[in-house]
Structures are given as structure tokens and as C-alpha cells.
């Protein structure tokens, strides 16, 4: 559910958890980001930074400048101005992410796990089985058919939680148990109802089945897309996966290596909640 009034809880002497609901839904997540945008726009003295997540946001504050109670009161009163969000718009960049589905590197990673940790159905086949898909081609078609909403970032710098905006593209998958000790950089994974892109070689738990040569993380800030940060995405961005073949993968990887790669990004759009809801209505009617 989405709460009428946010529920706020202290995280020690410097943090507050502001819970706006208890479900995983686009509406709730959009509300979280709308509230985050209002808190930031209000430039409240003593509010240091926010971590917007699926259904909640965390506020860091300086208790020498603002009390716990006053910070909560500010958050609650700004949340009350959100209404039902019908007229809300947020800045939203769109990134086209080239993806080689069923690539050799994630296959090698899965084989390694199956050989050394526990035997399991290969990740793409498991996704097909659990979601009633006839084969890998349909999985690629389904997974690349929707724009994805960057609902949150975290756990690791730049690691994104992606929600499909088209309900027809929804997939479900369990997470690895136990988790993998390594995942290739740029791997596309899916766990629960969420897709992700692994920014770097890290442990992981999502089912994996594709890889992008496009960096979403650049420690050296070498490429122009990383001028402002080492991590590419911000919450509220959108991602569209574009299936490519191996030759295109290698071409892009070489461009990245040479430092000439330019990320395909549309950054003149705003995301309209009303427009999105109207589109959802038309899909459902069909």
C-alpha cells in the first residue's frame, strides 16, 4: 500500500528513514522520487543528502542545524503537497544500452557456478521456464521490448534497480542461493521483478543472461559521460536495451578502449506521470 502520511523512523543521531509505503510499484517509487525532488528543491538548512529507494528515502541531516522532529515535519509537509501525483513530471534521461544477449562471458560465469557451487538450470532457460516463454529468442524480445525505470541505485556504486515500464515485459526470477562470488563487468541480471546492470566485476545474486560493452561506471572518469560522477545513472533515468550482435559488441568495446565512445543518451525529456498512466490505460484496453 501507499501510506496517506509517510512513516518516519530515526536511524541513530544523523539519519531518518521516511517510508512512503510497503509495496514494490512504479507509482510508489515515482512518489519517492517526487518527494526527494521537493526536499532537494526546498534547500532545507541542515539536510545533507538523500537516498531514495524503492518505497522509502533516507535523509542525512546535521543535528547541529536541524532537529530530528523538524526534519520529519518538513518531510511530512512536503509529502502532503504531492497529492495523487497526477500532474507530476520529473526530469528523465533515456539511455540506449547496447546488449549482447546470451553472450559467452555470462555463460562462462554461470558454468563456473554450476561446476563449483551448485548445479542449476542455466539462467536464460530458467527465466524462460518460470515466465512461460518458448525459448531464448522470446526472452530477448521480451526483455528488450520495454523502457526501464531506474528506480534506485545502491549497494555498490552505480548498481541500478531497473523496473520495466511496459507491464507486458515483466519477468520474475528467484535470486541465486548462495550468491555468486563474481559477475563479469557489464552483465545484465534479473532478480525478483527487477533487472540490473553490474557496473564492475562484483559478487551478485541475479540470474544473468546478457552483457553490455557500454560502461556504466568509470573509475578514471575518462569518457565524457562520466564528467560529473564515476557512475552513469541517476534515479529517474530510463534505460532501453538494444540487442546487438558480437561484431557490434566488439566495435563498441574497441571505442570504449580508445576513449572515443559516446553514450547514446536523450536528455531533453521529462517523464509525465499522467501521460504514462494514460498509455497504461490504452494498453490494458487492448
Amino acid at each position: 500500500m501507499i501510506y496517506d502520511t509517510p512513516q518516519c523512523y530515526p536511524g541513530g543521531d544523523r539519519y531518518i528513514e521516511v517510508e512512503l509505503g510497503d509495496e514494490m510499484s512504479f507509482d510508489l517509487n515515482f512518489r519517492v522520487h517526487s518527494l526527494a525532488a521537493r526536499i532537494e528543491a526546498a534547500r532545507i538548512a541542515g539536510v545533507i543528502e538523500l537516498i531514495p529507494e524503492m518505497a522509502s528515502l533516507q535523509i542525512s541531516y546535521d543535528p547541529d542545524l536541524i532537529s530530528y522532529e523538524d526534519t520529519v515535519a518538513e518531510a511530512v509537509s512536503l509529502a502532503a503537497t504531492l497529492g495523487n501525483g497526477g500532474d507530476a513530471e520529473l526530469d528523465s534521461r533515456l539511455f540506449y544500452v547496447p546488449v549482447l544477449y546470451f553472450d559467452p562471458w555470462t555463460r562462462e560465469c554461470v558454468d563456473d557456478y554450476r561446476a563449483h557451487v551448485t548445479d542449476k538450470v542455466a539462467d536464460p532457460d530458467l527465466l524462460c521456464q518460470l515466465n512461460g516463454l518458448p525459448g531464448r529468442a522470446e526472452l530477448r524480445r521480451r526483455h528488450s521490448s520495454s523502457e526501464y525505470w531506474v528506480a534506485a541505485l545502491g549497494f555498490w556504486p552505480g548498481l541500478c534497480s531497473l523496473m520495466p515500464l511496459d507491464p507486458r515485459a515483466r519477468l520474475n526470477a528467484p535470486k541465486y542461493n548462495p550468491p555468486r562470488t563474481w559477475t563479469p563487468k557489464g552483465t545484465i541480471g534479473h532478480g525478483g521483478a527487477i533487472s540490473c546492470i553490474y557496473p564492475d566485476r562484483t559478487p551478485g545474486g541475479y540470474q544473468i543472461f546478457a552483457r553490455t560493452p557500454m560502461p556504466i561506471w568509470d573509475r578514471e572518469q575518462r569518457l565524457p559521460a562520466f564528467r560529473d560522477s564515476l557512475a552513469l545513472f541517476r534515479a529517474g533515468d530510463r534505460v532501453k536495451f538494444v540487442p546487438i550482435e558480437r561484431d557490434e559488441y566488439d566495435f563498441i568495446a574497441a571505442e570504449v578502449e580508445a576513449g572515443t565512445y559516446q553514450h547514446a543518451c536523450v536528455d531533453y525529456q521529462r517523464f509525465s506521470l499522467a501521460g504514462y498512466r494514460a498509455w497504461l490505460g490504452r494498453i490494458e484496453a487492448e
Binding site: 537516498i51 522509502s56 543535528p63 564515476l230 557512475a231
Partner: protein
């Protein structure tokens, strides 16, 4: 300039207040775990108290200085020597070009700090010189042969930190750690909350700048931990991904992990308690096998402790040599 002869065990450049403003993208604040000792080291060499300095963990580094100046060693006693001769910690220490300042293993506590007059002048990454070693943000832990530039030093007046203004590391290896309830204490039973504050918790060997793992009695969960929407996850300790406060006692299954400076920013486990920021120095010095006892404090009390700590980390706390 200083040159790293031996790097020690994951010695890193740290700075306060840490890397703020990028947590929403998953970048942790980092910074020194024992900000108290860190600030005192800076004040002893005439730096502003939040200037970039070194944090040493369990085993300190050997460093050759290439210019005359001042250094200070604080935090855990790592038996510092200058060209092999034992030197005092918690004082302004004159160093001459070519001398080697060497730290050994921590005799008590775990983290030592070394400040140089002028501060460590590494480039800022996302607005900070703090190191997040695991992801290589702001560089990595020091390596042998590495050279670190120093900033311009101001005038230094030799002083000392009196005993009363230093963190006291208990001989009993038992720590009282102040912790506030929340944000997710309602996921536990009342008995589990009482048991948390009433039990001994042993620090596991698998502890680092990301988290301090504890062993202790089992947790029991309230109704809401079982009757929740499926997207929260299957384990009672699972919750929809949310932000993680620094100091959160993060409950992964039955293992509590206190999230410290380099912790993950978000995740899917509940945080029933949060350690007061003024108690972080204790987490910095708790060694595997040490016992933590949590004392419940209110948000207000934790903020008062923070203020008192802040006031203590001040030039007025230093004494003449």
C-alpha cells in the same frame, strides 16, 4: 612528500566529512572510523582537524619523509619508531628529511592515525580525498613505493593530547556501545529488543571497514516480519530495498552486522538499531573476540554525545608539551 616503504595492512588516505552528496548513486561516505583520534592527529600538526591523513588498520606502515616537518601518531598504540627509535604517540613529532616513521602491530585497539603537517595532498574524487578501497574510489590502500604529496604546512607549536582527551581502550576488551532503537525495531519482538541491549555480542574475525559482524543470541521477529508482501523477500529479516544508515545494526538472517564507513548504501535487510555516531571510535578499535554491550540511548542523547565529542576534538583540548 612521503614515500611508502611498507604499506601495512590496508592503510588508506582518509578525510572528513567524507564523500558526501553521492550516496544516492551508491558511494559510501568513507572517512576515518575513529574521527576522534584522526582529528587530534591533525590538530597536533597544525592542520585543520578534518584534513586528509592516514588510517592504519591492525598493522601500520613504514613511511620515509622527504622533507623536514611535523607528524603525529594517534589512535591504537602501534609502537611507532623514528629511524628505529621509539617515539611518543599523541604528541607533535618533529621529523627530518630522510627519516623513516614506522608503525607495527596494534597492541590494543585496531586503528592508528598518522597526520603530517600540511595534510596528504592527493586529488579529490567526487569532492573528497577519502578512500573507498573496495571499489577503488579515491584510490586504493597504500602500496609499497607509492609517493604521497603533502600540502603546504602552517606554523606548528609542539603540543600533546592529555590522557583525558584520548579515547580509552578498555583492557577488559569489553565495550559499552550507545545505540538508538530504529529505524526497523518494530520488526523484532519486545523480547528480542531487550535481549539485544542485555546480551554480550562477540566481534567476528570477518569484520572490516564495511561492517562489524557479531555473534550472539538469536533474534525473534514480530508478526510483520512474517506477514508482509512477497516483494519484501522470504526471510523474516528481509525488507524492500531501503537506505542503510551508517552505524545501522543490519540483520542479515540471524547475523547482525554493524554497517560502518564503507558499508553498502542500500539493501534488503532490516536495521532494528543504529549505533550513535559518537560511539564509532569504539567500533574502530573493537578487535575480533572483543565483546560489545549495547546501551540504549534516545536520539536526543545520541545527539548530545555527538556534540560533546565535537567539542572535545578541538585545539583547546591540547596541552603544552
Amino acid at each position: 612528500m612521503i614515500e611508502v616503504i611498507k604499506p601495512g595492512l590496508e592503510t588508506s588516505v582518509q578525510e572528513l566529512p567524507g564523500r558526501l552528496g553521492y550516496w544516492a548513486q551508491g558511494f559510501p561516505p568513507s572517512g576515518p572510523m575513529d574521527a576522534w583520534s584522526f582529528r587530534m592527529a591533525n590538530l597536533l600538526v597544525g592542520n585543520k582537524r578534518d584534513t586528509a591523513a592516514l588510517e592504519c588498520q591492525f598493522i601500520g606502515p613504514s613511511l620515509r619523509v622527504s622533507q623536514d616537518g611535523w607528524a603525529a601518531v594517534t589512535g591504537a598504540d602501534m609502537g611507532a619508531t623514528l629511524d628505529g627509535v621509539p617515539v611518543e604517540a599523541w604528541v607533535s613529532l618533529p621529523v627530518r628529511a630522510g627519516q623513516t616513521l614506522a608503525l607495527g602491530g596494534a597492541k590494543a585497539g585496531a586503528r592508528g592515525y598518522v597526520a603530517f603537517a600540511g595534510g596528504i595532498d592527493v586529488p579529490q574524487v567526487l569532492g573528497s580525498r577519502a578512500t573507498f578501497h573496495m571499489a577503488g574510489v579515491g584510490g586504493y590502500a597504500l602500496r609499497a613505493g607509492q609517493r604521497l604529496a603533502l600540502g603546504p604546512a602552517g606554523p606548528v607549536r609542539a603540543r600533546r593530547v592529555p590522557e583525558a582527551a584520548r579515547p580509552a581502550i578498555p583492557r577488559t576488551r569489553t565495550w559499552t556501545v550507545e545505540a538508538v532503537r530504529g529505524p526497523n525495531d518494530s520488526w523484532l519482538t519486545g523480547e528480542a529488543i531487550a535481549r539485544f541491549y542485555g546480551s554480550d555480542w562477540t566481534v567476528q574475525a570477518k569484520s572490516s571497514r564495511t561492517g562489524i559482524r557479531l555473534t550472539g543470541p538469536a533474534f525473534t521477529f514480530a508478526e510483520r516480519a512474517f506477514h508482509k508482501r512477497p516483494e519484501h523477500g522470504q526471510d523474516p529479516s528481509n525488507i524492500l530495498d531501503h537506505g542503510y544508515p551508517l552505524g545501522a545494526v543490519n540483520l542479515a538472517g540471524q547475523t547482525p552486522i554493524i554497517l560502518v564507513n564503507d558499508a553498502p548504501s542500500t539493501g534488503g535487510f532490516v536495521n532494528p538499531f543504529t549505533v550513535a555516531s559518537a560511539a564509532f571510535w569504539k567500533l574502530a578499535h573493537a578487535r575480533p573476540g572483543d565483546v560489545l554491550r549495547f546501551r540504549e540511548v534516545t536520539v536526543r542523547e545520541a545527539q548530545d554525545l555527538r556534540r560533546a565529542m565535537d567539542a572535545l576534538c578541538h585545539e583547546d583540548s591540547l596541552a603544552e608539551v
